[in-house]
């Protein structure tokens, strides 16, 4: 109700952004919480790199909200997606590498499960911190909305398309040329057999099917070309003799359509005649003259060449006409905005082509230096084998394609969160920041982080969300230009004191449980049971109150 009473005098966008004090509180809380948790869990480097990637992603989303300078903004957003994906992948990958290097080889098989759980906990903290940083960065300008995220999904898919296709082509080429299965030879044989079948008929025989396929293709391409080219507009009112050109063209189009229908019907018939019917029951039944004519027409190499060229030229004309038509309908800016991500993908491919050697050497050296000697040796052997098989460009391009595909997956997950309604447009940033921090704090508890830090992390996470949501509501109702600081600070203090009470209660509860456990077997059991019962009752009461 109040949100709608924006007076006409106050139309500036910035005024209705989340208010400053609470937003600053949420940002500081996120930064502090992420820093403390990453340090305590021992993943500061990975968190820093992944956070940089998350900030790149938020920047990319911000660029996508631009209404002016859309072409450079889209190009910038596309290019930023590469460091975003690389940063997050590198950060998470590095820390998982370190965690694996520390945990394995495990001392005993029983410890494997424990180590895996530990690694899962570390990864969850890392992911939580990354999401929190992304949420905080996105909340600064409110750039994370379902619209911008779905735009980003389209963008990252298009950016990933070229590198992925190039990688598949290069890897396929590497496979074909290196594998000694004769795959290349088989492919070449297949191609030459097909072209012979199509273009070099044995003289003196009827080749209905091949001829039918070529004729059908030529007819279809001509029909499409006639349909897509602006023939009517060009012909205008021109006449040749007594015939209007436009009418003649229309008649031609109709005849081609008829021919096309004939081909669609005739090719299956030709297939049946060629392969299924015995020779004496099929064409042999035709009269001599008809049979000879068929032989001349269907086995004429010149006619086939003509049909082939008609197909090529008409097909190319139709394709160009379609592209031009599509581009001319959209404005130049729209076309450029549409192609910007492909340009970015092309830039990635070109960059890899130029700098693949140093990149790969650096990467392999870095990974080797992080692994223990037996593992490092095995990794070096593996890497050498892969690189010598595919070539370093293919490997780096594959890594890039992988990073971009992961980015597609990440943005898709984000899009899913919006689509499923877990995150709303209005408070997307604070929700992600608070949610990520909460996840990190909760999982920090599973990897032996100090209990006070876990509890503080939880309080900070809830405060970040609370302050962010409060700032968004206050901004939309009252605006930034109004005096709001006192109310914001009061609200923040209130949330902090509730958190403090919660921390005290949780501390007391855990103290009660642990001291109960140490005082004696029966007493401990009784103590635990009574505390659990009390907790359960309190929880049920609160749940009922909350759902009331």
């Amino acid at each position: 109700m109040m949100d709608e009473i924006h007076d006409a005098a106050d139309l500036s966008e910035t005024n209705w952004a989340p208010t400053r004090a609470s937003s600053a509180l949420a940002l500081l809380g996120t930064a502090g919480g992420v820093g403390a948790l990453a340090l305590v869990v021992g993943v500061p480097k990975g968190t820093a790199v992944a956070a940089a990637g998350a900030i790149c992603l938020a920047l990319s989303l911000w660029l996508l909200t631009f209404e002016t300078w859309r072409v450079p903004a889209t190009l910038g957003a596309s290019l930023l997606l590469v460091p975003a994906g690389a940063g997050i992948t590198a950060g998470v990958g590095y820390e998982s590498l370190v965690a694996f290097a520390v945990s394995f080889p495990a001392g005993s098989p029983t410890r494997v499960v424990g180590q895996i759980l530990r690694i899962a906990g570390v990864m969850a903290v890392l992911w939580g911190c990354t999401i929190a940083v992304f949420g905080a960065a996105a909340s600064a300008r409110g750039v994370a909305t379902s619209r911008s995220v779905s735009k980003c999904l389209g963008l990252v898919t298009r950016v990933a398309l070229l590198p992925t296709n190039f990688f598949i082509a290069l890897a396929g080429y590497g496979l074909v040329t290196n594998l000694e299965l004769g795959a290349g030879g088989a492919l070449a044989e297949f191609v030459s057999a097909a072209t012979d079948w199509l273009f070099a008929p044995t003289p003196g025989e009827v080749h209905l099917l091949q001829f039918g396929v070529l004729a059908g293709a030529a007819t279809y391409a001509s029909y499409r070309a006639l349909l897509d080219l602006p023939t009517e507009a060009l012909a205008g009112e021109a006449t040749v003799g007594d015939v209007k050109v436009a009418d003649a063209l229309a008649a031609l189009r109709r005849s081609l359509a008829g021919l096309l229908a004939l081909a669609a019907f005739g090719i299956p018939v030709a297939f049946v005649v060629e392969f299924l019917l015995p020779a004496e029951k099929g064409l042999a039944l035709l009269p001599e003259a008809g049979h000879d004519l068929l032989v001349v027409v269907t086995s004429s190499a010149g006619l086939r060449d003509l049909l082939w060229w008609v197909t090529l030229v008409a097909g190319a004309a139709a394709a160009v006409a379609t592209l031009v038509r599509r581009s001319s309908r959209a404005s130049t800016r729209e076309v450029l905005v549409g192609y910007a991500p492909f340009v970015a993908g092309g830039a990635v491919v070109a960059g890899v082509h130029v700098a693949h050697g140093p990149i790969l050497r650096g990467l392999i050296g870095f990974v080797e230096s992080r692994l223990e000697p037996p593992l490092a040796g095995r990794f070096a052997d593996l890497a050498d084998g892969v690189v010598s098989f595919y070539g370093s460009e293919t490997v780096v391009l594959g890594l890039m394609a992988g990073v971009l595909t992961l980015a597609v997956g990440g943005v898709f997950a984000l899009w899913l969160a919006f689509a499923a309604g877990f995150v709303s447009d209005r408070v997307a940033g604070p929700s992600l920041a608070g949610g990520g921090l909460f996840l990190a704090a909760a999982f920090a508890g599973t990897v032996d982080a100090p209990f006070w830090l876990v509890l503080s992390g939880l309080v900070v996470a809830l405060m970040v969300w609370d302050a962010g949501e409060f700032a968004a509501t206050l901004g939309s109702e009252v605006g930034r230009r109004a005096a709001t600081r006192r109310v914001e600070l009061l609200h923040g203090l209130g949330a902090l004191s509730v958190g403090a009470v919660g921390v005290l209660a949780a501390g007391a509860l855990s103290q009660a449980v642990f001291s109960g456990g140490s005082s004696g077997v029966s007493g401990g059991e009784l103590g635990n049971l009574s505390v659990a019962l009390l907790g359960a009752v309190a929880g049920v009461v609160l749940l009922v109150m909350a759902l009331r």
């Binding site: 005098a9 106050d10 909460f438 909760a442 599973t446 969300w465 109702e477 109004a482 005096a483 209660a505």
Partner: protein, 500 residues
Amino acid sequence: MSRDRLRERVPRFRGSLAGTLLLTTLGLLYADARLFAAAVVPLSYVAFGALSSLSGAAEPEIERTFDAASPPPGSEVEVTLTVRNAGESALTDVRVVDGVPDELSVVSGSPRAALALRPDEEATVSYSVVAKRGEYDFDDPAVRVRTASATDRATLAVEASGETTLDCARSVSDPPFGEASPRRVGTHTTDSGGEGVEFHSTREYRPGDPISRIDWRRFGKTGDLTTVEFREERAARTVVVVDARPVTRTTPSAGYPNGAELCAYAGEQLYDALTAANVATSVTALGLGDEDVPGGLPADDLLWAASDGGSSARLVFEAIGSAADRDSSEEVPGDGTGAGAKSDSGPDAGQSPDSASPSSETPTEHPAATDGGEQTDNGTEDPTVRALLARLPADAQVVLVSPVLDDWPLSLARSVSARGHDLAVLSPDVTGGASSAGESSAGESPTGDSSPGASPGRAIAGTRREIRLWDLRTTGADTVDWSVSDPLGIALERSLQTLL
């Protein structure tokens, strides 16, 4: 809390509930009692949200005051809301949105605020609006009260005590029919003989001539009765011509009254002053449309309020007000902080003098450029000037109230002076003023950048206007330049000195 109250609970802490479940699940999965205990933290927020309620809160009291009772158009009026918590319990989050009329634009401060009030505490919210001609009713402020957890909120419209109407129009008094006399004595000397001080002529005595005017000396010498005539002195008729043509409907900044509005206001004040000084005053307006006047315009398109009857001056000024507002709907109101900057680049740029004056230049370039000899003829060809001259009484002096944004006033001045009428021009400055903007507006504007005259286009428009005023003076007209930020009284005093 009373009327129009909408109270609702906002389920804010669902996320905390999910967090509680997550921690409980993790505690069970990892068999960790600490994680289980940590679930108390999000649960405490859930409890906080569920338990806090507005039950004891009372409706705040609001009072509104304006710093100027009846301000001139274009001036900034400070509106102050005083919000008081009259209840027993503290209000931690009170959001107030004052009901500013759509027509008025807020130039500094914000009509919205979020306040925290202890019992009996009061807080003030101040903002400024630009006054416009007319009466504007403020709506009741909308108020939303929340608990500290923001889970319980009440939305209500609180009736504000104090002032509710911003009145920025002094209605023109009806012409004093009762006191009207066809010939009023004044200081304006005329060419007809009669009673007065200065000698005019002598003539033969006619029965009924006052004895005091018989030339006794001559009677003594010749025996003929002769009557002395003095140069008669009386107030001439004054015609106030208010210029409300479309070209004048430009504003220095979005949200400020346009030139036609300012002309209407100045013309109204001038009319009142002249009528009060017992001067026979007629009013007419240029640029009116049929839709501005009930019943449509007369045949010569000039709505004329004569001093001795005809349509009333109030009708004329109302019509001008309606014509001035006609283009206002296209304006995009500014946001206060960037009013100056917005009108440079925003869609309302078409309304600002930057763009309006060049376009208005084109059709009227010729009279200014050509030689002086043909001016009158050229001017008379203009149908408006012709109609105006046709209606002017022979002894009338003309006061043109116009922002002088094109060369039309100049052609009028030439035509009028060719007919022997006196002309005075009272010109409100809507260009922000090439020379005066810096000193007059920058100090007043709290944000600094909303001062008119900030853009080069406006500066050029201001310079052209000054040149036109100079040209008007060379035709013999008296010009009074009214900088809108100055009180109108000073300008009126100066213009009245030339008239009375």
